[in-house]
Subunit: 212 residues, 2 copies
Amino acid sequence: MARQSGGERKKADGDNEGRIRARNEAKILEVSVRLFSAKGFDGTTISEIAEESGLPKANVYYYFKTKTAIYERLIAEVFRDWDAALRHIRPERDPREALADYVREKLESSRRNAAQSRFFAGELLRGGKFLSRRQRQHMLEVTREACEAVEHWISEGRFPELDPRHFFIMIWATTQFYADFAPVVAATLEVPRLRKSDFDDAADQILKAIRL
Amino acid sequence: MARQSGGERKKADGDNEGRIRARNEAKILEVSVRLFSAKGFDGTTISEIAEESGLPKANVYYYFKTKTAIYERLIAEVFRDWDAALRHIRPERDPREALADYVREKLESSRRNAAQSRFFAGELLRGGKFLSRRQRQHMLEVTREACEAVEHWISEGRFPELDPRHFFIMIWATTQFYADFAPVVAATLEVPRLRKSDFDDAADQILKAIRL
DNA sequence: GACGATCCTGACGATTTCGTCAAGTTTTAT
DNA sequence: ATAAAACTTGACGAAATCGTCAGGATCGTC
């Protein structure tokens, strides 16, 4: 796609060209991810989304054909960044450093996008019915690659002899937990609300707890 | 089978005394926990619960005043067993053994009661709004006690110097993950469905991965 | 065998939700 | 200026849901 290069900007005297759609869709999605993550698919109504977006309901339907369309769009968006942090896991890197970067980035991104993270967790908890075959396939491939990197480390004796798949499951579970179940974590840590420093502590503790 | 205890029988020409209520409530709860865990509170309808219970809807309302009442009852039931496995963590035990027992029991119980586990996870994911103050308090106390045991081990140099609270969060997160996000785990392990042996492997790998 | 308690049930009403529509307004391009 | 495209909106219809109710069926006990 990316043909028709050269001048992307047209006239654009003000700065509105197709902007209205972009702005309104963004607003709807932003509100939706929060509501879906807090109340689930069925618990969220379009009227509510409309209200919190500052748009009349019929206008929401102008931008999205159905409630499911909004949900699917969100899945796709969240999924786009799913494996971002995993890119740190590469065979040529130092295992310790790579892992530290990975854990820190995963924690930080789930902290920053807590609503997205919870939204996605909720979807997976229900079995991930909205995930397309293509998306599942992608998850699988990325995981395989990361496992290969770990196996490479193990073969060189730079990493403990663990099943990399279980190892990654452990890391995912833990890093997700802090953002997704924040109230439980906060209660456990006996703080009113999780702050960045709690996430930093988490990263340190996780890395320290794992045999490396 | 083969029950028909020693002195259990009352008069009970048949064996119905208050049994009908017990049986029907149990059936309703059993169906509900499955449906709630699969579709959430709002996504589950009373008609559906009725249908799958083999009862007419009005009859469900005879046993439970509202949908919320069913949900709250389930929370209470699931919560009753929440800390069962934690009882293995006691200061006088050997840390390694205690932890092994704990991890194994937690994994096994979430495997055996997957629907309950997912149901509870869903509730916590949404912020645990249905948990009573008393229940939260109980969680906190039990956690504190377990942390004290770990601190005791640390003070004797029998355990790595970790923050026990983060440590337990890590264990909870990981053990829950296998049952709650079973489809993701199965995909990662590249098996069609998780079996008991996968959970056993998980326990071994978790215990092996943690620095002890 | 009768009588009170427990259990069962079809039909119903009030409300809410999704999604549509047709008619308006604003923006953009020529 | 003008016409097409993009956007906005109040009102509406069909369907689903929660929870109720009044009366009938069964059960347990004397």
